[in-house]
């Protein structure tokens, strides 16, 4: 198996609080891997640690065969991009969509800027009419599309998705999930996706890991979860909870 991302006994600590307690995982190239858990389970911290946004205090991260040091170089960010949860907070409020998409291209020294911006917007289904708008002129779903375009414009091979649809309406969520599946198919991307919604994760991912308190609870394949073949009570509770409210007499 050719692994795109391989994490070994990763530890993250904020002062004395251990947010991640030795988590290991292996994601094959082209695979879609899900992380599920409640708030505070460390699932987002894991993504942020890979992206270089959380203080790693132990363990190793290997991306496409290369071990990551404390500092990420430019080449890393061409390979790995992240989409954040809150589309209202993750786009610069005083930059137009054009400017937002331009910046990564300039940083990485791309030459054919114009066609790339147009293509990126096309790919996420926005069209060039949105190019010179500010983020406050867009709806939540449109913003998330811009965030995806920004992540894809550098042609990464790995996309880290931190609850990409949890701030969106159900109908818009469906559109964004479909878009993500589409770009993954077209570009053979590797996804690592975080969500608290089991249904979204089973829909999007081949394999998943359930997390609690900074540790792995269990690892499942999507078919296992669909067939309710789970071994841990914690996962079972999550499954029950995702089915909606049940009245107890």
């Amino acid at each position: 198996m050719n692994s795109a991302l391989s994490i070994d006994r990763l530890e993250v600590a904020y002062d004395h609080f251990r947010a991640l307690k030795g988590v290991s995982l292996d994601v094959a190239a082209g695979e879609s891997f899900g992380l599920v858990g409640e708030s505070g389970s460390g699932k987002s911290t894991l993504l942020r640690a890979v992206a270089g946004l959380a203080p790693v205090s132990g363990g190793t991260i290997i991306v496409n065969g290369e071990k990551l040091g404390d500092r990420r170089d430019k080449a890393f960010y061409r390979e790995v991009q992240m989409v954040f949860q809150d589309p209202y907070g993750s786009l610069h409020p005083r930059q137009t969509v054009d400017r937002l998409l331009l910046e990564p291209l300039v940083i990485h020294g791309f030459k054919d800027i114009e066609p790339r911006i147009i293509r990126a917007l096309d790919e996420v289904g926005l069209g060039s009419g949105f190019r010179f708008r500010y983020s406050h002129q867009l709806s939540g779903g449109q913003r998330q599309r811009v965030a995806i375009a920004r992540a894809l414009i550098l042609e990464p091979s790995i996309l880290l998705l931190d609850e990409p649809t949890s701030a969106l309406d159900a109908s818009v969520q469906a559109e964004v999930l479909n878009l993500l599946e589409q770009v993954r198919r077209d570009r053979r991307l590797t996804f690592v996706m975080v969500s608290h919604d089991l249904a979204v994760i089973t829909h999007m991912c081949d394999r998943l890991m359930v997390m609690q308190d900074g540790e792995e609870v269990e690892r499942l394949s999507a078919p296992d979860l669909s067939a309710r073949r789970v071994t841990k009570d914690y996962t079972r509770n999550l499954l029950v909870a995702s089915e909606g409210f049940r009245r107890t007499a």
Partner: protein
């Protein structure tokens, strides 16, 4: 069933530089001592409906209705003093995010006591005892400790419970819950719903549950109103949701991924202009 709230042809609109924005366009419904769900996407007017009943519509908005009556009181023409008496006392509202809707510089206990003492002649010691009892009723285990904490010191689920305690302390007859669990984890979400459900049953409150999650609403409420572009497109008993007729309701139900059902790609809503007529 006795009607507690009657809404007849309610409209809420906002004048803006580019013309009138009609957020709610002539909706009618009535509520008894039951759980009514209002479902719709962002911008469908569901929250503005709740706010209009509560009397929290911004002053620049225009409200009109043939009737907006709560227990025989004409809410639209009620003097501000009477509305203040009702608000928090007989009609209460739970807001979406405890992080933004609790007072950050007041301890949780003091905020609850404030509600109680505003609406009734209650002594300090008694108010404190009742606030503690209420915190326990919403299943906060260590009520004494939480009483003295500030909103930033508690988790989202705990903050939401504190807000529910604050809203229920005066014993309202009508509770409007505007996305009370959207900011919470699934497991905490069910706890909160369980608390609301028990209180509705035990106290005989009327509940309006506003949410964008049609499945959750249908599992919790007795009756569901589906709103689109400021209008009610369909009203049906929660158990009949599977037989919904309006394409919008069906679309909302269909577009959510389901465990064990692989549909790639997910069906998306094909919004038709005639729905908004």
């Amino acid at each position: 069933m006795s009607t507690m709230l009657a809404v007849e042809n309610l409209s809420v609109s906002f004048p803006t530089r580019t013309g009138m924005i009609e957020a709610v366009r002539g909706i009618s419904f009535s509520l008894g001592r039951e759980r009514l769900g209002i479902v719709g996407e962002s911008g469908s007017g569901k929250s503005q409906t709740g706010r209009a009943i509560m009397g929290l519509t911004p002053p620049n908005a225009l409200i009109s209705a043939d009737s907006l009556e709560f227990d025989g009181i004409d809410l639209l023409n009620a003097p501000p003093q009477l509305r203040r008496d009702l608000r928090g006392n007989r009609i209460a509202m739970i807001l979406q995010d405890p992080k933004y809707s609790l007072n950050p510089v007041m301890s949780i206990g003091r905020q609850i006591v404030e509600t109680l003492r505003t609406h009734g002649n209650v002594g300090k010691a008694e108010a404190r005892d009742r606030a503690l009892a209420m915190l326990e009723a919403v299943q906060i285990r260590d009520a004494r400790r939480v009483y003295d904490l500030y909103p930033h010191e508690v988790s989202g689920g705990m903050g939401q419970r504190a807000m529910i305690a604050m809203m229920l302390i005066a014993g309202p007859e009508l509770l409007i819950a505007d996305e009370p669990t959207s900011a919470l984890d699934v497991t905490v979400q069910l706890d909160i719903l369980g608390i609301l459900d028990r209180l509705v049953r035990e106290r005989g409150m009327g509940l309006i549950f506003i949410s964008h999650d049609l499945r959750l609403v249908s599992s919790f409420c007795d009756r569901v109103i589906v709103m689109y572009a400021g209008r009610i497109v369909e009203e049906l008993p929660a158990t009949e949701l599977a037989n919904a007729e309006h394409p919008y309701t069906r679309g909302l139900l269909n577009c959510m991924p389901e465990i064990g059902v692989g549909r790639h790609p997910l069906p998306v809503l094909d919004r038709r202009p005639e729905w908004a007529l």
